[in-house]
Amino acid sequence: MNYGTKMASGIEPGAELLRIENISLSFGGVKALTDVSFDIQRGEVRAIIGPNGAGKSSMLNVINGFYHPQVGEVWYCGEKRKGIKPHQIAHQGIARTFQNIALFKGMSTLDNIMTGRSTHMSANMLSQAIWRGAAEKEEIKNRRYVEEIIDFLEIQSIRKTPVGRLPYGLQKRVELGRALAAEPVLLLLDEPMAGMNVEEKEDMSRFILDVQSEFGTTIAIIEHDMGVVMDISDRLVVLDYGKKIGDGTPEEIRNNQAVIDAYLGVPHE
């Protein structure tokens, strides 16, 4: 159990895990997000959708502390977040994958996923230099967990392959593995199915739902494939030009006129 798991241990499934309050973010004159508020409940799959440039990725970047909004507050586990760095947020139990794969290309699959365990490892430099003893024990303990993830994602055969050599679909899977290795409380997925064929999308959807049910992880997902999003998410937020235009269950979103107009398209008479 690391710091993030402890921090969220008081939050029951269904209770509010993260709350975004009146966030506004701009880069110079460009407004990326305007007065956006929503919450994420523990244990749900929360989708963030919207047309290109709607501010979805910026939203994720705000959640994991990469962007600092000019206005608004982020509440996580009942605490208001004050200017902390992305790596500290990782220690609070938030992990993510990226829209464009951001794996460590020179390292093997195993090393990539092991890096995801860094928030669970604490052997100091001296004991790592000596290796035998504390550092080795810690390495083996975490390796055991990583092997479970490798099993779960069915990537045993590429364990020691440098990730730069893997095909796109597998790289996406390794990246998911790296995020899962952190045992996150909240997992942010930025277009995990972009560029995949139907079969790969099915696999990925299965992994996401399994993660939710097996590990009880809360998931926030950005995805363009409406069929997939409506199927796997419990609730959705719809953004358009940096503003929130819809929030609710898939059923509500389907019937939301503003969303239909802005995003799903007005049916032609």
Binding site: F66, K85, K105, G106, M107, T115, Q128, W131, A135, E139
Partner: protein, 358 residues
């Protein structure tokens, strides 16, 4: 056929993460160690020690250090010469201030001091990357050399501006000074190299090493996964400078005996060590050894061929040597950008399948 993986099963993770997972590699390593420690000292003479073995051992330590910083952590440094100088001068100051202190500890302390200086000059890396960082470390190179020239305290006000190593011994054998025997000097440096290579391997295979490589490959993703960039970059600078400081201390006290900072630790040293790790292989422990061996041995070999064997005049030989070594470096970078370590890896892969590649 003789060298193979088949049948070498691992049943524990501990077996799987060892340095030499293949039994044959492991035995090869033990044999090399045994020869280096038990056989070579009996056959080594002054020429071999001074011309080949000591430079190789010491540059291998420096290459390991720079490889940790540049190869593993991706922070390009051109300050190696300056950090070698810090190691040398720290060694000299400690030797003269505490004459009774064991030389082994003196060398380690020189490394620690260099680590502190290295961390100081590593602070810009938190803001700048790539070429710009290289230029910032270049400033370290020139500043440090200037400092050791300018402030007489560093060379104890000696008239020549040189520092020279007094005699210090270990277990009754002189290690430094004019009376040190070749085998003793060799063994002293070899011990440091083996110890530090072991440490480098341990650091690079664990959490710290992975955080370095993560910073090298994709710093933003590393930070979001929970790697603290400040800690990993500064630790890389510290460890790297520790290695280079030890190399500098040995370079001064055991190898040369007396140095003048501008001559011994100029910018050419920085480039030499950088070439070693590029030719040997960035991000590889073996590569550090291979690169150091290559750039130490090839000039000696060429000189022996041209001067002793063909009887050419020395000055011509030196110039041809420059051209040949330079040409070889270019050739290497074109043919195998990942260095000798990659060649070695490919050769091993081929050999694993030999003689039935299909």
């Amino acid at each position: 056929m003789f060298y193979r993986q088949a049948g070498d099963f691992k049943t524990t993770y501990r077996d799987d993460i060892q340095t030499f997972p293949l039994k044959q590699d492991r035995w090869g390593y033990y044999i090399v160690l045994a020869i280096a420690f038990l056989v070579v000292p009996f056959f080594i003479n002054d020429y071999w020690t001074s011309a080949v073995m000591l430079p190789f051992l010491i540059y291998a330590i420096a290459s390991l250090g720079l490889n940790i910083l540049t190869g593993y952590c991706g922070q390009v440094s051109l300050g190696t010469g300056g950090f070698l100088a810090v190691g040398a001068y720290a060694c000299y100051k400690i030797m003269t201030a505490f004459p009774d202190l064991n030389i082994f500890i003196v060398v380690l302390l020189s490394g620690v001091i260099t680590a502190a200086v290295g961390m100081l000059f590593g602070i810009p890396s938190l803001r700048i990357k790539g070429f710009y960082l290289a230029v910032a470390t270049l400033a370290a190179q020139f500043f440090l050399v200037w400092l050791f020239n300018k402030v007489p305290w560093f060379y104890n006000n000696s008239a020549s501006g040189q520092i020279s190593a007094p005699e210090r011994s270990m277990f009754g054998f002189a290690v430094t000074g004019p009376n040190a025997d070749a085998p003793v000097r060799y063994l002293f440096c070899l011990t440091f190299l083996v110890l530090l290579a072991w440490v480098a391997r341990n650091l690079t295979r664990g959490r710290l090493g992975r955080s370095w490589m993560a910073i090298r490959d994709m710093d933003i993703a590393a930070e979001i996964i929970g790697v603290n960039p400040l800690k990993s970059k500064l630790s890389a600078f510290a460890v790297s400078s520790f290695f280079i400081g030890v190399a500098g201390a040995l370079f001064f006290s055991v190898y040369l005996g007396a140095v003048e900072v501008g001559e011994a630790f100029g910018i050419t040293q920085s480039f030499l060590v950088l070439f070693m790790i590029i030719i040997g292989g960035l991000g590889s422990i073996f590569g550090s050894f291979a690169g150091a061996a290559f750039l130490v041995l090839v000039p000696v070999l060429l000189k022996n061929i041209m001067v002793n064997w063909l009887g050419w005049p020395t000055d011509i030989a030196v110039h041809i040597e420059f051209m040949v070594v330079g040409g070889l470096i270019v050739l290497f970078l074109i043919a195998e950008p990942h260095g000798l370590a990659q060649l070695w890896r490919l050769a091993k892969d081929k050999f694993l399948l030999w003689p039935f590649p299909h």
